[in-house]
């Protein structure tokens, strides 16, 4: 059995150890925010945070998630309660079809610097077929910083909420 944390919740997986983390998230845990584009590490659509660092989930065998912390776009805001980064994407037209967005949000949420040049370098591992990137760079550089504190704060808030519900 492979045990790890997804979005602050303990999860375990009993299937094949070499199943891709991407497929485990989507098929076994029903977390479908994470998308599959190329399946070869090139497009970044499947980007999640592994112990806080952006990785492409299509290249992670689930056995390597053992004991670690995974965060997906589901850890950000929800419809009607978007986090500031998501709101900035909405306000600055950073989303068209939206397929690349969950992965982009995960990488962007970890950027230390958000001047346009730093954003371009930091997000170079993502392809977007719709926007032409200008609006994405703008969405990230105009979002309130620091992005990272915001998303962990949002996560903490959601965890507190979950505890209250229980």
């Amino acid at each position: 059995m492979i045990a790890f944390t997804v979005n602050g919740r303990k999860r375990s997986f009993k299937g094949p150890p070499f199943k891709r983390l991407l497929d485990v998230l989507r098929e076994d845990f029903g977390l479908t925010a994470t998308k599959e584009g190329c399946g070869e590490g090139e497009c970044g659509a499947c980007t999640v945070l592994l112990d806080g660092k952006p990785v492409t989930a299509c290249l992670v065998p689930v056995c390597q998630a053992q004991g670690r912390k995974v965060e997906t776009a589901e850890s950000l805001g929800r419809p009607g309660r978007l986090n500031p980064l998501q709101r900035s994407f909405q306000e600055n037209a950073g989303v068209q079809c939206g397929f690349c967005t969950p992965g982009l949000l995960m990488s962007a949420s970890r950027l230390k610097k958000t001047d346009p040049e730093a954003v371009r370098v930091g997000l170079a591992g993502h392809l977007c077929r719709c926007t032409g990137y200008m609006h994405i760079v703008e969405s990230v550089s105009k979002a309130p910083s620091p992005l990272r504190e915001r998303s962990t704060a949002a996560l903490r808030g959601r965890r507190a909420l979950a505890r209250r519900k229980r």
């Binding site: 891709r20 590490g41 970044g44 990785v55 992670v60 056995c63 990488s107």
Partner: protein, 283 residues
């Protein structure tokens, strides 16, 4: 598919000795691409990622010892690597993009033995040694002797890469360069990659030149002929042009989907000329 997950180096080596057909796995950025094609079906995988001894970057008396599991992101950010071996830090920052650098390891890059491995030119000019271990013990392989050809290494059956050792440079080079030439800034496989170190004496004569090219032959190449030519001479346009002519002797560029052989040759000659004439390179 079976996955073996050793917790330390001794266990890894013992498991590999017992299952020599197993496929070592580090960050998986090369291996998982194969998985998708079905090429790993039925294979046993030896997942090295739990071997903590092979993670660290340590200073020794004679050099820097980089564990094979150190990621490109770790290399890129490590203060000792940045200070002592900046070309390796620069190469690590040019591998794929952030997500690949967070997962891909130095050991995986080397073992994969692609002609386009971006760390190779830097490791060649720093005259690194690859430390391989097996149940029989450990041995140190000079970096330039590590590759047997495209995707082929001189690792013996049962051998794993434990670390890579970079001997400290005796004096700071006058000039140094890492350049990757690709189709786009991120994620591209190099058309060619270059690393250079140059020492010049007080008499303005070249004390030593080390220059290596990737993607210009089945394996990384040091430009021995050009290096020998400039030694003891003063650099100028004529000498640089001669060195660029000699460059051909040490490479055998291929035509492929990414470039023509002629383009590759031309670009590398320009890189060498610029480096020798000081029109490119830092410090």
């Amino acid at each position: 598919m079976t996955v073996l997950r050793p917790r330390d180096a001794a266990e890894a080596v013992a498991l590999y000795a017992a299952r020599p057909a197993a496929l070592p796995l580090a960050g998986g950025t090369d291996l998982l691409v194969l998985w998708t094609t079905g090429a790993l079906n039925g294979r046993t995988v030896l997942d090295l990622s739990g071997v903590k001894e092979w993670r660290s970057i340590r200073k020794t008396v004679t050099g820097l010892s980089i564990g094979s599991l150190a990621t490109h992101a770790e290399l890129r950010g490590d203060p000792a690597v940045r200070r002592e071996f900046p070309l390796l830090a620069a190469a690590a920052a040019a591998v794929g993009a952030e997500q690949i650098q967070n997962r891909g390891t130095l050991g995986g890059n080397i073992a994969n033995a692609s002609p386009a491995g971006d760390a190779f030119p830097a490791l060649a000019v720093y005259e690194a040694a690859v430390v391989a271990v097996s149940r029989k013990g450990q041995r140190s392989i000079p970096f330039c002797e590590f590759f047997a050809g495209v995707k082929k290494t001189n690792l013996a059956p049962g051998e794993l890469i434990a670390s890579v050792v970079l001997p400290y440079l005796e004096t700071r080079p006058r000039r140094q360069l890492f350049r990757k030439v690709g189709t786009r800034a991120a994620m591209s496989i190099s058309k060619t990659a270059a690393a250079g170190l140059l020492w010049v004496g007080p008499d303005r004569r070249v004390r030593e030149l080390r220059f290596a090219l990737g993607s210009m032959a089945p394996t990384v190449r040091r430009l021995r002929a050009a290096e020998g030519l400039v030694k003891g001479k003063r650099l100028g346009r004529e000498l640089a042009a001669e060195a660029c002519e000699l460059l051909r002797r040490d490479v055998s560029p291929i035509e492929d989907a990414r470039s023509t052989a002629e383009y590759r040759l031309h670009v590398s000659q320009n890189l060498l000329a610029d480096f020798l004439l000081g029109t490119q390179g830092s410090h």
